[in-house]
Subunit: 327 residues, 2 copies
């Protein structure tokens, strides 16, 4: 997300998001120099900051308290970043967001440890809010993320896994944390329970839409804009919504995706054929429609929630942004 876009979307909490950013930067300020270098690299990769922004926005539904919200929001981003670092170790990814991954720079060993350090720091930040329900929320979210990631790992190249499995997987690996972010701010600011629940469901559905769009962009995007190679999921054997829809629509052993998965020789050639076939088949539009459905459901879940300081409008705009973004 370009800065201008985030400023527009996150207007109600833009200044406070800077405080989260400052806190995140300060986390790299540790005594042990090799750890400092690694943390600076990992935390310096400024992502969309979607999750901390959501946490701050949702705080407006309670007694907005930055002493609690800033560590809460930073903690979510830390959890997210830690899970990406472990994910990159697992996927042996070389780049993310156009930058070299921690594992490619520092090795797998140190990267596992840096992720663990961030988990620890995230827990310490959450503890500083004095809210054990929030600790529990984040703890369970980690467990969901892990289950989602494991599922993705263990079903690679397994084309018998269908759509139901895909939604379970992205629910765990992406939507759970975005849902937790949307829940956390309201929770830590003491919002009413029905609002906390609505925001969690909003976030979960937003997260599904977000991941589906990610999976579409993996096929349709521009490598330079994405900061990673196109078709990476397919190449690593991860079936996502577009490839699953494609397999469903063209069953049979001569489906190019199926042929690529079975190929032992000419893998690059088989891969290029499969990628092109998916891109030109129309399934990307179908997948976009599914993403749009989830974004609409997210907005509908906001229902008759109030609109303190324009926050509800920001949440609606965010859902629109998620399904129209190009990176």
């Amino acid at each position: 997300m370009p800065v201008t876009t985030s400023v527009a979307l996150f207007a109600p909490i833009a200044d406070d998001l800077n405080r989260v950013e400052e806190l995140l930067r300060s986390i790299a300020d540790v005594e042990y120099a090799p750890l400092r270098t690694m943390l600076s690299h990992v935390l310096g990769s400024s992502g969309k900051r979607l999750r901390p922004a959501l946490a701050l926005l949702s705080g407006k539904y309670g007694t907005y308290n930055l002493d609690r919200l800033v560590p809460t929001a930073a903690s979510i981003e830390l959890l997210h970043t830690a899970s990406l670092v472990h994910d990159d170790v697992i996927d042996q990814a070389a780049t993310r967001r156009g930058r070299a991954t921690a594992n490619s720079l520092f090795g797998n060993k140190a990267s596992v440890m840096v992720g663990d350090f961030m988990f620890g720091h995230a827990a310490d930040l959450v503890a500083s809010t004095g809210n054990t329900r929030l600790v529990s929320l984040f703890a369970r979210t980690i467990m969901q993320i892990v289950t989602g990631e494991l599922n993705q790992d263990l079903t690679a190249y397994d084309y018998s896994k269908g759509l139901r499995d895909y939604f379970a997987r992205i629910g765990g690996k992406t939507a759970a944390l975005i849902g937790a972010a949307a829940e956390a701010g309201a929770l830590v600011c003491g919002a009413p329970e029905h609002i906390i629940a609505a925001l969690r469901e909003y976030g979960f559905n937003l997260g599904l839409a977000f991941q589906i769009v990610d999976d579409i962009l993996d096929f349709s995007g521009n490598a330079a804009v994405l900061g990673k190679p196109v078709g990476g999921d397919l190449w690593s054997g991860t079936l996502t919504l577009p490839s699953l829809l494609f397999l469903e629509r063209y069953p049979g052993r001569d489906n190019p995706v199926f042929r690529f998965f079975r190929s032992k020789r000419n893998r690059e050639e088989r891969f290029a054929e499969a990628l092109e076939a998916v891109r030109t088949s129309g399934v990307l539009d179908d997948a976009s429609n599914v993403a749009r459905e989830y974004a609409d459901r997210a907005v509908a879940l906001l229902g008759d929630l109030p609109n303190p300081e324009g926050v509800k409008e920001a949440l609606v705009d965010l859902a629109e942004y998620v399904v129209t973004r190009a990176q």
Copy 2:
């Protein structure tokens, strides 16, 4: 530790330790089958349970409350086990305690995730005590463990690193968690602050003694009893107290440890020479004396603490056990 020994040492809390064991077993009972298999394997490797026992014992210094102590003690064992799983991924270890490691059975990818899952579960258990100070204690302990492990990883084969570095390393990777275990029970049971502090220091010094003895056993132990090959630290380039004392006593480029570290050919032969030289040099006795000093210091730190239900005696016996054990 054979069961008979632990029963004798942990007599004041033996029944309650079984409840911790039950809780740990129940953690593997997750819906997702591949995760269940992995957790069962990892948690089924019954270790010494030193850390949960310490947490329970220290609870006797406050208002002994099993509803808080059992999750606290289980959480510490989970943190310990998770860090071992990640450690084994990092060290590419094939066996631990005589059993195949998670990474050798399930691969590095899944092992990183299983460790993360246990971190999450540990945080959820701690949160259930409602004590955010305890969450913070455990969170900071993870950060210390990581720093210790990273230091070990990044200084492998670096013989310029001296004794000071060794103590910083084992302080982080082992003593911090044993200290936290000894602190946690008292903390969660509302013991007086001066007792909490004394128990933490006792545990930290006990932990240093424990790790030094581990490092001695890596040279002097029996592979069958230890459940891992003898000399593993030296082989992987990790300098521990025995090899550091040996390098200090026999400086110069013809020191067998130094020669092994520099060797590019005949590594097995150079390794066997170095191992034998350390074993017969007398430094193992010197290292034992250092371990004994820390155990004595641990006992001295108990000072004039009371002896509720014989707990102080158990803590004194534990210190004696730690420096006389053979596995």
